[in-house]
Symmetry: D3
C-alpha cells in the first residue's frame, strides 16, 4: 500500500459525477490523489432523453454513447479509473452480489474520503437509493468477518455532493471547496455531456454562486478569499481534529 491518497466517487448514473463533483475530482487528481469513479448505471433509460428522441435508438447504443461521454469527462478531470457496473436505472437496484462488488472496490481503493448523492430526492429515487447503498457497503467494508484477511476499511468521510434543486432535497452544505484552479477542467468535462447541453449553463452558474458562498464564509468584505468557483458538500459523519479553525 503506497502513500498515495485515494478517493472514491459513487455515481448513480454516468453523468452525475460531472455536474456535482467534477471540481472536487479534478482538484484532488491534480494534487496527486488517485480518484476512482464508480457509475452504477449509465442513466440509459432515465437520463438520456435527447438520445431517445433520435430515430432507431436502442438501449445498447444509448449505453455506449453515455459510456463514451463519461469516459471523456473523467479524462478531462484527470481521472483514468472509471468503472461501470451497468446495473440498470429507473429504477436502479443492487442485489447482494452487486453490493459485494461495490464493497470490493471500496476495500481495494481504501479511500481517504467517499462521495455520493443527497439523503433525499423525491424526483429521483435512484439518487437516494445510491446513498443508502453507499452507507451499507461502507459498513460491510468495515466488517472484519467479511472476506477475512482482506484489509478492512477505516472510517472515511462520506461527502454528499450537490443535488439539483438543493432545497427540495433537504441538502445543506457544510463544506465549500475552492475549485477555481481546476474550473477549466470541470468546464471541459461538463461539455463532454453532449446529451444534456441544457445543463451546462446551469452548473456554470451554480459554480460561480458557490464561489460567492466561499468568499462570504472565508471572510467576506473583510478578508474573504477571491475564489471564482466552488463546490459545496454535506458531510455525513463528524470529523476528528487536533485544532479548531
Amino acid at each position: 500500500m503506497s502513500e498515495t491518497r485515494t478517493a472514491l466517487v459513487i455515481s448513480a448514473h454516468a453523468a452525475d459525477f460531472v455536474w456535482r463533483a467534477g471540481g472536487a475530482i479534478a482538484l484532488h487528481a491534480s494534487r496527486g490523489y488517485e480518484v476512482t469513479i464508480v457509475c452504477l448505471s449509465y442513466g440509459e433509460r432515465g437520463e438520456s432523453a435527447k438520445l431517445w428522441k433520435q430515430d432507431g435508438m436502442t438501449l445498447d447504443r444509448v449505453k455506449a454513447a453515455r459510456k463514451a461521454e463519461a469516459e471523456n469527462a473523467a479524462a478531462a478531470l484527470g481521472v483514468g479509473d472509471i468503472r461501470f457496473f451497468d446495473l440498470g436505472d429507473y429504477p436502479l437496484e443492487l442485489d447482494r452480489d452487486a453490493k459485494f462488488r461495490l464493497v470490493d472496490v471500496i476495500r481495494e481503493v481504501q479511500p481517504a474520503f467517499m462521495m455520493s448523492h443527497s439523503h433525499y430526492d423525491p424526483y429521483n429515487t435512484d439518487h437516494m437509493y445510491t446513498t443508502q447503498v453507499a452507507l451499507e457497503c461502507r459498513m460491510i467494508a468495515q466488517a472484519w468477518g467479511h472476506n477475512p484477511g482482506e484489509k478492512v476499511l477505516g472510517a472515511p468521510q462520506l461527502y454528499l455532493f450537490e443535488p439539483h434543486q438543493t432545497e427540495q432535497m433537504g441538502w445543506k452544505p457544510d463544506v465549500f471547496l475552492d475549485i477555481s484552479p481546476v474550473w477549466d477542467r470541470k468546464k471541459a468535462a461538463i461539455e463532454c455531456m453532449e446529451g444534456q447541453e441544457h445543463l451546462w449553463r446551469y452548473y456554470t452558474n451554480a459554480a460561480e454562486n458557490r464561489g460567492n458562498h466561499f468568499r462570504r464564509n472565508s471572510g467576506g468584505m473583510a478578508g474573504g478569499r477571491k475564489a471564482t468557483h466552488a463546490e459545496g458538500f454535506q458531510r455525513v459523519f463528524p470529523i476528528t481534529v487536533d485544532e479548531l479553525t
Copy 2:
C-alpha cells in the same frame, strides 16, 4: 496586529466554559492562541445552589466566590484574559449598550473562532439567549458602519459547545477535538468549581466517552487514533477548504 491567533469564548454563566469547552481552551492556549473568555454573568442566582444553602449568604458574596472559581479555572486552563460583564442571570438580559460592549470585545479580539452555547435549551433559557446574542453581535461586528474606522470582523466560525443533556437540546456535534494532551488541565479547572462538585464525575465520563467517539470516527478498529479524552462541537457556519479530508 500580531500574527498571534486568537479565540473568543462567550459563556452565559461563570462556570459554563469549564465543563463545555475547557479542553478546547487549554489546547489552543497551549498552542499559543490568545484565548479570551467573556462571562456574561456569574450564574449567581441560578447556578450557585450550594452557596445559597449556606447561612447568611448574600448576592455579593456569591458573585465573589463564583468569580474566584472562574478565575482559578481560567488560570488552570492557561488563560489570563477572562472578563466578567456582570449582567445578572435567571434571566440574563443584554440591552443595546451591553451588546455593543460585547461587539467591542469581538472586534478587539478578532477571533479566529468563537464559541458559545447550543441553539436550544428548554431547561436554561439564558443559554440559548446567549447564542442568539452571540450571532447578533457577530453580525454587528461585521458592519462597516458600526464605529467606522475600527477594524471590522471577518467571518469566524461559531462553535456551539456541548450542553447538558445533549439530545434534549437538539445539539449535534460535527467536530470532535482530541483534548488528551490537556486533559489534566481541564480536570484541574473542573476541580476549581467547588460549588458544583456533583458535576465533576459527569464531565469526566463525558470526556472519556467523547474520546471513544473520536477513536471511532478517526478509524475505529482499523486505524483510529488512541485519543483518551475529547470534546465535541457543532458548527453554525459552513467551512471553506482547499482540500477535503
Copy 3:
C-alpha cells in the same frame, strides 16, 4: 388524447381513498375530470377485522367483500375507473413487474395530479411504502428509455392525503380544498364501508374541522368563505405559477 383532465389516486388498501381523498375525488369528477383509482391491495388481511370476526371467513370472501365496498364507494364518488392490483397487504410488496404495471397506468392516465399516502407512518408501513413506490414509479414514467415510443409523463404534483393521527406521521397540509359541494357524495361513499363503521363519525368530524381551517385560512372573521367541509393535502413538489395569490 382529448382535452379531458385526469387524476390518479394510489391507495394502499381498498378503503383508503374514501376516508382520505373522497371529497377531492368527487369534486374533480363533478368538474369533468376522469379520475382513476388504483387499489394496490384489498386490505384483506390488515383492515378487515370486522369480517374476520365472522365464523368461517376466508381470504377470498374478505377480498370479494372489500372489492364490492370499494366499487360502491367509487361509484358514489362518481368514479367508474377503479383498478385492483391485488398485491396482498400486511405487508404490501411490489416487485419490478408490479411497479411497471403501475407505471403503465400512470402513463395511460397522464394525470394532471396524483395522490397517495403520507411520507411516514409507524402504525402502517404499507402506507409509507406506497408513497415511496408512487415516487419511484412517477420517476420511471418520466424516463424516455422506458418503453420508448410511449408518451412520457410530465411533472404532475403528488398530493399526500390525510393520514390517521396526522401529527404522528409528520404530515403537514399546505392546501385545503373546499369539498362542501360534494360532501353528500363523500358521506355516501363513507357509508359504503360497512366493515369500518367505527370510522364514519371520525371522518365526518375531520371534514367539518378541516372546513374550519378552510374558513380561517381564507380570511376568518374578516372575509373567510363559508366552507362547511374540506380536505387537506400536502404537496411533495413546488408549484409553478404566473401570479401569486
Copy 4:
C-alpha cells in the same frame, strides 16, 4: 376601497426587496397590482461597506445614498409607493410604536399577499427578526380590538423570499414564479444598487437557475414551459382552493 389588488413587501434593509423579490414586484405591478414596499431601515450600517470605505463618509450621507438607490430600484420595478421607516440596522429593533406603525400600513394596504425574509438567518439576525415582526404585526392587524372601527385584515399569505445561501437558512421554496416577462425590469433595478455591484451577477445566475427549476417543475422535457427566469418563495400558511392543480 377599489377593486385594485394590492401587495406588501416588508424589507429589513433598503436593498433586500430588489435581489429577493424584484421579479415578483415588477410582475404584479405590471398586472395592475398596487405594490407597497416598506424598508424598515436603510441598511446603512451593515450593508453599505462600499460607501463606508470612502473618505469622510457620514451616516446621513450613507442613508441618503441608500434611499436614492432604493427609490430608483422601486421605480425601475414600476412601484411608486416605497416607505422608509428609518429604524436603524445591525441591529434592527422595533418598539411597540414602530410595530403599530407597520400595522397601520398593513391595514391601509389590505394586501392580497405579503412578503418578507426567511424564518432563520444566522448570518443576519435583522432578517429573521423582520419576519418575526411581520407575523406579529399581521396578527395585530387582524385584531378587531386594535383601533376599533378600522377595517381589519383578512388572512393574506406571507411569502418568504429567497435568502442568500438558502440551504443555511432552512428555506425551502414551494412556489416558483415565472418572471421572464419582467426580467429586464429586475435587471434594471439590480443595477440601481451601485454599492453592491458584487451581487449583480450572483442574482442574475440565481434567476436563471430558478428558471430551470420552473421548467423542471412545470413538466421538464415533457412539456415544461420555457421560462428563462424565475423566483422562488416559501409560503408560511396553507392555501385554500376550489380545485387542485
Copy 5:
C-alpha cells in the same frame, strides 16, 4: 405544605385554557388536585371579535365580559383559583416585573405539572411567546438565588396543550388523556364562551377524534379502552420512571 397535588395552567388569553385543556383541568380537579389558572391577558383586543362588532363597545367592557366568561368556565371545570394578570394582548408582552409575578405564582403553587401553548404558532405570536416565558419563569423559579429562603421549584413537566391547526404548529402529542368522565364539564365550560360559539362544535369534534386516538393507542380492536373523549398533550421534558409501560 399539605399533601394536596397541584397543577398550573398558563393561558395567553382568557379562553385558551377552556378549549385546549378544559378536560385535563376538570379531571384533575375531580381527583383532588388544586388547579391554578393564570390568564396573562383577557384576549380583549384579538379574540373578542363578536363583542367588538357591537355598537359602543369599549375595552373595559370587553375585558369585563371576557373575565366573566373565563370565571364561569373555570367554575364549570371545578376550579376556583383563576388569576388575571391583565397584561394586554396582540401583542402580549411581559417585562421583568410581570415575569417575577408569574414566578411568584409558580413557587406558591409548586405544581406537579404545568401547561401552556405550543412552541410555534405563526398565526398567533402571543401563544408561542407565552410558552417561551413559561420556560423562562420555570427556570427562574428553580434558582436558589431568586428570593433566597423561598421554596425553590423542582422539575415539573411542562405540557403543551393542543393548538388550533396542530400540523401548522409542529405540535405532536405524545400523551393522550381520557377525559370521558368529565366531558360534560368541559362541554359546560365551552358553552360559557358565548363570544366564540363558532368554536363549540369544532372542539367537540376534536375531543371525539382524540377519543379515537386514545382507543387506537391503548390497543385498538384488540383491547383498546372505550374512551369517548380525550385530549392530547406534548411533553417538553423527558420523564423519569421506575417501570416501562
Copy 6:
C-alpha cells in the same frame, strides 16, 4: 394466558441488547416480567473484530462464541428466553418468511412493550433496518387476517434504546428508567462480552451520566431522586393515561 406481564427485545446483533437495554431487561425481569430477547443475527461478521484477529478463526466458531456470550449475558440479566434467528449480518436481511417468524414470536409473547434500535444510524444500517422490520412485524401481528384464529396483537409501545453516538442518530430519549437496583446485573452482563472489552467503560460512564439525567429530571437540587444509574429510551407511539404526572 396468565397474568404475567411480558416484554420483547429485538436486537440486530447478539450483543446489542446488553449495552443498550440490559438495565431495563434486568429490572423488569426482577419484577416478574417474562422478557424474551430475539437476536436476529450473531453480529458474527461485523461486530466480532477481536475474534477475527485470532488465527484460524471460522464463521462457525465466531457464531458459537457470540452465542455463548449472549446467553451468559441474558442469564446475568435474569432472562432465560433468548432466541437466535441466525439471519446473517452486515448486511442483515429478512425475507417474508423471516418476518413471519418474528411475527410468530410477537404474537406468542404478546408483549406489554417492545424494544429495538434507533430510527436512523448511518454507521450501522443493520440497526435502522431492524427497527423498520420491528414496525412492519408489529403491524402484521395486529392483522386479524394473518393466521386467523390466533390472538392478535394490541398496541404495545416500541421503545428505541440508546444507540452509540446518540446525536448522530437523531435519537432523543423521552423516558429515563432508574436501573440503580439492577446495575450490578447489567455490569455482570456487560462483562460477559469478552470480545468487546473496549466498550465496558463506555457504557458504565453512559449509565452513570444517564443517572444524572434521571436526578435532574426528577427534581434536581430540589427533590430529585438519588438514582445512580439509568437508561434512556425514545417512544415511537404516544401513550394513553388516566392522569398526568
